[in-house]
Symmetry: C2
Subunit: 361 residues, 2 copies
């Protein structure tokens, strides 16, 4: 919308979230995705932008998705099916569905199962990129449930003590509702940093922080160095080195690999074809364990206690998981989603080429 | 057994695991624990020693347990009950039961639920020390299930950016069966290190590793320093500092706090009475998701791939979670459990005082 297309400090233009969502939907429809699936996928991408998680928003992901649909790496009209099911679980073969489309369906199934038997857990194999993991976990919130989502992805991370990547950045996301406070919304890779943090340093200059990466032989780089080229480094697991718990980040990445790849029957990070990933979602029905009001009241008190923690010297405040994203979302609701002019231009060009109406200016 | 009471390099004496288990059982019975519960508790402790996890074995825990039973901090004959239940979940009020006694019961319930509906999840509130978390998770293995166990414990860990402890070391344990390989057995605190690692350095001399602790104001100590007194430091969450992912260790500790304290209704780490903790266990029935043989075959291949990873320079081999513990167990099965002479002496004195037969020499 023209009145929102104002520049911020970083030369970003603000676009209307609703317009962005429908534009993304129409682009996905153009590459063959049915309208309702395209809307779901668009919502996952735009929600990431709303929360300030640009790495998983439209600017970073949509062009890749379009390319992969056009290259037939992803199936826009998947014949996905439940290949095994119990009252509390299901295993989905996604028929190469994009994760941002199939994972919300998996989460809906998990939520329904949790409504019936207290807990639901659904694995998704033969699928593609998940999008922002916590989107799917957050779907549980409005049902007064705790949501979990994880994904086993292509190997870029060293096992502790190893010289060769064996694991993905394998994120773990957990969302839990509160009463008056915004929900607890946790979403983290099990590596110290994801690849794109290294990319950003390479692009902007400056140095990597010690403990982010290993060199080409797997030796952790514990000095501050410029970002090596993409093939000149390997990510370290959370904990960085054995002395500070690298076996813990490594072990957590393994857990994700087992629960996603193992339980979906779609192999594991180190051996799967590059584009193929596996996801697992779960929903825990709070009411199955405790009164919802009691739980939420305690969550509010707990969140307040954490937020009230006096900061250590040099810090302004103590944050809780999801707080910065919630604050970003308030800003974007009021002022629109900031996009770089070249992203707007990509939309303009792509819409023209696809004969999709362009309304982001 | 006399023939096993030989010294190893560290002046340890080797004792027979069976004799140790029955001795521990009788000591627990002397403080009021019924025979079958005492055997369960003894098995949890001795299993930790078998796996080389001395921090959770007899030498470190039994004396504390005895003291706490005698001080009526723990209830030897708890009237524990399920306060809420669904086909896939249960919430237990443990009536101040020791965790090593009540958590195996909770896990049995979770396993039974997973047999019926694919997944089972049980929270335990109003309870005491868990023992080795992965003992309970490992109970799932013989049922061809994946086991999970976590515990929210007293606050000793700083939130990222904070000056005051708000979270426990809140461990996460996951065990998954393989075919011919030993199982995957992961058990880790969500802090960089547990308290007892600092204690050991203080006792033996030497320095702490940078990134283990914060000072009394919460500032992370990123140099190598001697161990401060117990009240002169605070543990750091996994990731150590914000630049290397401290928010991730902090967030994972929060997840444990929510799933254990929140879902059991027994408050949370920062506010609970010191001895009161909360546990959550879960079992995932592999057969509910995928053929068990297919899963185990893949686990074997996956474990082999990880073990075959060429080590980074300076390392001998790449380990998988549980491998060192499995190797320790083979040694202890063959040669007995190594105990320090002063631990043997404590058993001798305690058995004499309690009129329990002593057979560890």
């Amino acid at each position: 919308m023209a009145e929102q297309a104002k520049s911020d400090g970083n030369l970003r233009l603000r676009v209307d979230p609703h317009n962005l969502r429908t534009t993304v939907q129409k682009i996905l429809m153009h590459v063959g995705v049915p309208a309702d699936d395209a809307l779901t996928g668009a919502d996952v991408l735009v929600k990431a932008d709303m929360m300030g998680v640009e790495s998983h928003g439209v600017s970073n992901m949509l062009e890749r998705y379009v390319e992969r649909f056009q290259a037939d790496i992803m199936n826009p009209k998947p014949n996905w099916r439940i290949v095994r099911e119990t009252p509390g679980t299901a295993t989905i073969d996604a028929d190469r569905a994009l994760g941002v489309v199939i994972t919300p369906k998996a989460m809906e199934i998990a939520i329904e199962k949790a409504r019936n038997v207290g807990v639901g857990m659904v694995t998704v194999g033969n699928t593609r990129h998940l999008g922002m993991a916590v989107y799917h976990a957050m779907m549980a919130l409005e049902h007064n449930m705790i949501g979990v989502c994880m994904s086993s992805v292509r190997p870029t991370v060293l096992p502790s003590l190893g010289s060769t990547v064996r694991l993905g950045t394998n994120p773990i996301a957990v969302a839990a509702p509160a009463g008056t406070h915004p929900p607890f919304v946790f979403d983290a890779a099990t590596s110290v940093v994801p690849d794109n943090k290294v990319d950003i340093v390479r692009r902007l200059g400056g140095n990597l922080f010690p403990g982010w990466i290993g060199d080409e032989n797997g030796t952790p780089i514990m000095e501050s160095v410029p970002a090596p080229p993409r093939d000149g480094y390997q990510l370290l697991p959370l904990g960085s080195i054995p002395q500070t718990g690298a076996h813990k980040g490594y072990g957590l990445a393994c857990v994700v690999d087992i629960l996603c790849g193992g339980l979906s029957g779609s192999r594991y990070g180190a051996t799967r074809p590059a584009e193929e990933v596996a996801h697992t979602v779960a929903a825990y029905n709070i009411e199955a364990f405790i009164e919802v009001d009691t739980f939420k009241q305690q969550m509010d008190e707990w969140l307040q206690t954490l937020k009230d923690t006096p900061p250590a010297p040099g810090n302004e405040r103590v944050l809780v998981a999801g707080q910065m994203e919630w604050e970003a979302e308030q800003d974007r609701k009021a002022n629109g989603i900031p996009l770089h002019p070249y992203v707007i231009q990509w939309f303009r060009d792509t819409c023209a080429q696809m004969e999709v109406p362009f309304n982001l200016d």
